[in-house]
Homo-oligomer: 188 residues x 2
DNA sequence: CAATAAATAGACAAATCTGTCTATTTATTG
DNA sequence: CAATAAATAGACAGATTTGTCTATTTATTG
């Protein structure tokens, strides 16, 4: 039952889908490219995922899980509660560097399929609610200046992160995320 | 030379492309659907646009022009300089209602084609720079509290608008745009 | 009116797409 | 080892994609 060395087929599929769906977009990525680059048989893919849309849903959920794990690991390394808020921005600067400023994978998936597939939309909303909740907890524990209320500051950080990542993906650089960080720093 | 009543072919194409590219996405919209719904011949489309990608570039540029006209008209109705800043948010709440919370058309186009087509990326960057410049001018004339510098406030408003529109398109409602407005109100 | 330009309908090519199916080989497990 | 499950390669169907081309009709303009 346990495959230790060598990925199991479903992981190879998801790894490849994750890379291609983000880089090229869902619609621009064909099943044939996925199975070729994942180096698996087509029948194997359709044994694990009934349709291409099912693979998209799985991709969003898996991206959500991995996003959360990585962010949690980053935040655990930061002690000061205000610094945790600022670490959010540094984390996303690093992530967007790695992602070559391709923007937020959830917003991308939402723009491509969120209006037509309700399961995709639901998975994306879950991820964004998760992000917002996490920020709310960090704000509550931060002991900030109270220029804004807890709720306002949390919403502002959430919205600023979203906007800064979107802007960074337009201008292909970290500038807006760094700017957002400095401004939030003034407000906490 | 002048066509007065009845749209010329190129306008019918662009109107249809505008609607379909935004609603369904560029990749999910076929040339055949465009010509059918625009009620024109395929040869006419390819006489005006060499490739589908050229139509996308034209779509982005036209969306940019129309976005600016509409926003300018809205702002001209507002006298108070601080109210102009707040009117940005109201304007986008209305626009996103009409657009059924489909998000920013430029970010959408960027997510779908910005990484692969440099002309699309350039057109999107122009639109976003235009938006940022407009906000900067409004901020400079606003006589705000100077909790933030002019540059910081302008960047914050730009980023907050981007983020709020993205969040609104995930949660399919105006909540985040309204919240962003209230927060900016506190800072000006 | 005559000449030129613009638009039309639609067939067509060539490639690509998702999804199905068969037949075979490789792993796993009792 | 024997039985079951999982993965493979690849042909195939049927639909759809972008873009080209021909032949015809409709507008425009000198």
């Amino acid at each position: 039952m346990m495959k230790q060395r060598g990925q199991v087929v479903v992981d190879k599929i998801l790894d490849t889908a994750e890379r291609l769906f983000y880089l090229q977009g869902y619609s621009n990525t064909g099943i044939n490219q996925v199975i070729e680059e994942a180096d698996i048989a087509k029948a194997s893919l359709y044994k694990h995922f009934e349709t291409k849309a099912d693979l998209l849903v799985a991709y969003v959920q898996r991206t959500h899980e991995r996003w959360f794990s990585r962010l949690e690991a980053t935040l655990n390394k930061v002690a000061d509660p205000k610094d945790k808020l600022l670490a959010l921005f540094d984390h996303h600067i690093e992530r967007q560097e790695i992602r070559q400023y391709g923007g937020c994978p959830f917003i991308k998936a939402n723009d491509e399929a969120g209006m037509s597939d309700s399961r995709v939309l639901a998975a994306i909303q879950q991820a964004k609610r998760h992000s917002k909740d996490l920020i709310k907890k960090l704000v509550a524990a931060s002991g900030h200046k109270r220029i804004l209320t807890d709720r306002e500051l949390a919403e502002m950080i959430f919205i600023a992160l979203e906007g800064a990542i979107a802007a960074a993906s337009v201008f292909k650089g970290p500038a807006e995320i760094q700017t957002a960080k400095k401004i939030i720093q003034k407000l906490i």
